[in-house]
Amino acid sequence: MSPILELRTITKEYRGVPAVKNVNFTLNSQEVHALVGENGAGKSTLTKIIAGAVVPTSGEMLLDGRPVAFKVPKDALAAGIAMVYQENSLVPALTVAQNIFLGREQFFNRMRGINIAAQQFLQSLNFGVDPTASVASLGAAQRQMVEIARAVRQKARIIIFDEPTASLTPEEKFHFFGLMTRLKHTGVSIIFISHAIEEAVQHADRITVLRDGGHVLTDGAANLDRNSIIRAMVGRSLSGEIYGARGAARASRQPGRKVLSVQNLSMGSMVRNTSFSVFAGQVTGMFGLIGSGRTETAKIIAGVIKRDMFHGGEIKLDGRPVRYRVPEPAVRDGIVYVTEDRKLEGFFETMSIGDNINIGYMATAGGIFSVVNMAQVRRLAKQWIDAIKVRAINGDAKVIELSGGNQQKVVIAKSLVQNPKLIIFDEPTRGVDVGAIAEIHQFINMLADDGLAVIVISSYLPEIINLSDRILVTRQGRVVEEFTAGQATEERIMYAAVH
C-alpha cells in the first residue's frame, strides 16, 4: 500500500535548536496513526508541519506521492489536511453553529438554516452540544467537540487530532473513538497525538514514538504494548551524558521541618483534591504530563491564581493556613514562583538586569512610596551577577540582550532576592543551553543545602531524577504517587504519570 502522506528527513530548527530532526513518517490511506512521546518530544511540531502551521527547515513532504510545501494552514486545508489543535481555535463570541461554518459562509446566511444544519451535523456525530449556544459558555469538553466537528465538517482526507480526549469524559471518549472509526471507514486517514498510551494501543493501526525530536520507532499497534511504548518514550541514551548518573554521586537529603502542607486543594477541573507536603532542606520534584495540574497547583500556592471559592482545600505554610489572592502577600510570607514562561511572566525584557532584580527586591523590602536608589540597584545587580554567574557586561545590560540561560538566571535572581523560604521552579531549564542547565542545577542544589524548601516542576525526566530528593507524580490534577530518589526510575515515574 502506497502511503497517502510521506515525510522524509523532516527537520525544524528554532534558532539552531532542532525541535524535530530527520524524522521520517508515513501515513497510509484509511489508517489511524498514533503519535506518542514525552512532552517536548516533537509531536506537536511534526503535526503542525503537516498541517502547514509550521514550515520545516529541511526535508520533504509528499502527498499522494507528489511533493508539497505548505506555507500556511489554508494551503494544507485546501489539500485536504485539517488539524484539531489542543489549544482551542474557536471564536468565543460566536455560537457553536457559527463556529462550525466559520470560513465557509455563503453570501447570504440565514441563522435558522445554519443552526438546523449544525444541529443535524452534531447529532450525526453523537455530540450533545446546543448549536445556538455561545462558545464562551461551553466547557472544555464541549469546545473540544465543536473543534472536532469543525474539522470533520471540512471534509478533510487527513485529520490530525492533538490530544483530542484530554478533556473528554469516558462516554464522550467512547463516542469520539466511534467517530474516528466511522471516519476511517469513509476513507479518512487520521493522526492522533495522545498521552494515554492505552488509547493509542486500542484505537490506532500503527504507532510512532518520538523522543527528543527524533524518530524512535514505528510499528503496528498489535506488535506493541504499554511497557514497550513507555520504554521507547523515555529510553534516553544522552541523559547520562547531560545530567550524569545520580546514583553514587549524592545521597538524598533528609527532610527538615514541614514548610508547606497542601490539603485537598481544588481548582476547577485542573486541580482536583490534591494533597502533598514540602519539607525544608530538600528538593521536591514534581513530574506530570501536560494538563496534569502541576503548574496550576504551583500558581495557587504562590497566589498567581485562586483556588476554588467553595471547598477549595487548604494550604498551610509552617502550619498556618494561608490564602493568597495575589502573589504579593505570598512573596512577603516567603513563597516565590519562578515561572515556566519567563518571557511573559518572568521579567521586563527592555529593562536592565539591575532594574529587574530591584523590582524583585522592592516586592519585599520596598513600599508604595519607597525611593529607588540607583547605587543600590547597581550593588544588587553586581552581587547577583557574581552569585549566579550571569554572563553580561554589567548590571546595566538589558535582559533582552541575554541568552536564554542567562535570562533564566536573572529570573531566579529576581526571585531569590526576595529571601524566600519556599521556592518553586517551574521548568527551570526550558529553552536553556546545556552549560547553563548544569549551573542552574548546581544552584538549585545549593539552595536546598542551605535549608530552603525547593519544588522543581519539570517535564524532563532526567532532570527530575537528577535533582530531586523525592519525586511527586501528578495525574489528572492530583498527586498520585511519591518516589524516593532511590526508587525513582524513568519507567516507574512515567508509568505512574500515565496510568
Binding site: 494515554a196 492505552e198 533528609q254 514541614k258 490539603q263 485537598n264 494533597s275 467553595f310 471547598h311 524516593t484
Partner: protein, 358 residues
C-alpha cells in the same frame, strides 16, 4: 462571627474539610503487615518495659510477653499502665481509680476524683502523670467523646501530676482526649488525640501547654521514648474527609449517636470489615477513565518515629487492606520495636532501626 459564617458557607478556615497527606516520612508502606507476630491476644494495649520483660494489658489481665503468662488480673478491664524504674506499676481501670502496685505486691488506690477516666499514665521521676481523656466518659467510650465533641467543642480532658508525697497538681486541662504521655528531659509530652497533635507540658505547671507537632494525619495514641533520644508515636486511626465532614455536622452526629449502634457510626475505629452493616461511602475514583467504587478506611495501623525535635523521620504502616489496625501502643525494648494492634488482636515485633522498603 461573620467570618465564621462565611467560612462555613464556602468551606474554608475552621470549616475546611481537609486532611493532611501521608507523605514524606509518613509515606505508606507495609512494614506492620510484614512484621513478625510476638503474641496473638485479644485487644492488646499498654506496652511497658518492666524488669527486663515487656508487659501489656488485655482485658482484665496484665500479661508478660516473654513468658506469655498472666502477671496480674484485675476486677475491671485495664485502660492504661505505666512502669516506674523503682519497680512500681500504675494501672488504670475502667470506671475506677488508678491502682499503684508496689514491688512487694502490695497495692494502694489513688484518689478517684483525680484519676477517674485515666487514658494514659507515665512516671516522671517519682511522680505519676495521669492523663484523663474526658470528664464524662470512660476510656472505652472514646468514640462517643469524639463524636460529641466534633471539631469545635473544647475538650474536658486533663493531665494531672501526682507526686509521691505531696498534693497533686494540674498540668493542663480543657484538652481534647489526651491519650498518651511520656516524660523526657524534664518535660512531659502528651498526645492530644482529637486535636491530632503533641503537646509539651511543664511538670511544674508554670508554663502553658506548647504544641510541638500538629496536623497529624491520624489520631495519636501512646508515646514512648526511643533509644536515640527521639520518640515513638502510635496512631490508631486515620483522618479522612468523610469523618472530618461528619465531625462538622452536629445535627447529623446527634441523630447518628441516638439511633445507630456505635460499631456502625461513621467514626474512627480500631478495626473494620467485621460486619456488612459497617458504613461505606458511596464514592468513586476515576482511574484511566474507569469509575471505581471506593470507600475511605476508618481504621489504620501507624507508628511514627520522631526525632529529638519532634519531626517525623520514619513510619511503619498497616494500610487499608491490612489487618494490624488500631495501633494504640508502641514500645522500644532491647533494639526491638513492639506494636500493639488493638484492632488486629496481635502484638507485632520489628527491628527498631528497620529501613523501610516502601
Amino acid at each position: 462571627m461573620l467570618r465564621g459564617v462565611i467560612d462555613r458557607f464556602v468551606g474554608r478556615g475552621e470549616a475546611a474539610v481537609t486532611v493532611p497527606p501521608m507523605d514524606g516520612a509518613l509515606r505508606p508502606n507495609q512494614a506492620l503487615e510484614r512484621a513478625s507476630v510476638a503474641a496473638e491476644v485479644r485487644a492488646p494495649d499498654n506496652l511497658v518495659s518492666y524488669r527486663g520483660d515487656v508487659l501489656f494489658s488485655s482485658g482484665h489481665e496484665l500479661r508478660a510477653l516473654g513468658s506469655n503468662s498472666v502477671l496480674r488480673s484485675f476486677e475491671r478491664p485495664i485502660s492504661c499502665v505505666a512502669a516506674a524504674a523503682d519497680g512500681r506499676l500504675a494501672v488504670g481501670l475502667l470506671g475506677a481509680e488508678v491502682v499503684l502496685v508496689h514491688p512487694d505486691g502490695s497495692t494502694n488506690l489513688l484518689p478517684l476524683k483525680v484519676t477517674a477516666h485515666a487514658t494514659a499514665l507515665a512516671f516522671h521521676e517519682d511522680a505519676l502523670i495521669v492523663c484523663r481523656g474526658s470528664a464524662q466518659y470512660n476510656p472505652d467510650q472514646w468514640k462517643r467523646d469524639l463524636m460529641e465533641a466534633g471539631v469545635s467543642k473544647p475538650g474536658s480532658g486533663s493531665v494531672v501530676l501526682i507526686p509521691r508525697d505531696s498534693a497533686h497538681r494540674r498540668l493542663a486541662d480543657g484538652l481534647r482526649w489526651p491519650y498518651g504521655a511520656v516524660a523526657r528531659d524534664g518535660q512531659v509530652i502528651v498526645s492530644e488525640s482529637w486535636s491530632h497533635r503533641l503537646l509539651v507540658l511543664d511538670p511544674a505547671g508554670a508554663a502553658p501547654p506548647r504544641p510541638v507537632l500538629s496536623d497529624l494525619p491520624g489520631y495519636p495514641a501512646r508515646i514512648c521514648a526511643s533509644s536515640d533520644g527521639g520518640l515513638w508515636l502510635a496512631v490508631f486511626a486515620p483522618r479522612s474527609q468523610l469523618i472530618e465532614f461528619v465531625l462538622r455536622e452536629d445535627g447529623y452526629r446527634r441523630r447518628m449517636l441516638n439511633e445507630i449502634d456505635s460499631d456502625f457510626w461513621i467514626a474512627p475505629t480500631m478495626a473494620n470489615g467485621r460486619s456488612f452493616l459497617e458504613p461505606i461511602q458511596g464514592g468513586a475514583l476515576k482511574q484511566m477513565g474507569v469509575l471505581k467504587p471506593w470507600a475511605p478506611s476508618r481504621s489504620y495501623g501507624l507508628v511514627i518515629k520522631l526525632n529529638a525535635t519532634f519531626e517525623p523521620v520514619v513510619s511503619f504502616h498497616s494500610r487499608t487492606d491490612g489487618t494490624r489496625h488500631g495501633t494504640t501502643s508502641v514500645l522500644e525494648h532491647h533494639e526491638r520495636l513492639y506494636v500493639a494492634s488493638n484492632g488486629g488482636d496481635v502484638i507485632v515485633c520489628l527491628r527498631a532501626d528497620e529501613a523501610v522498603e516502601q
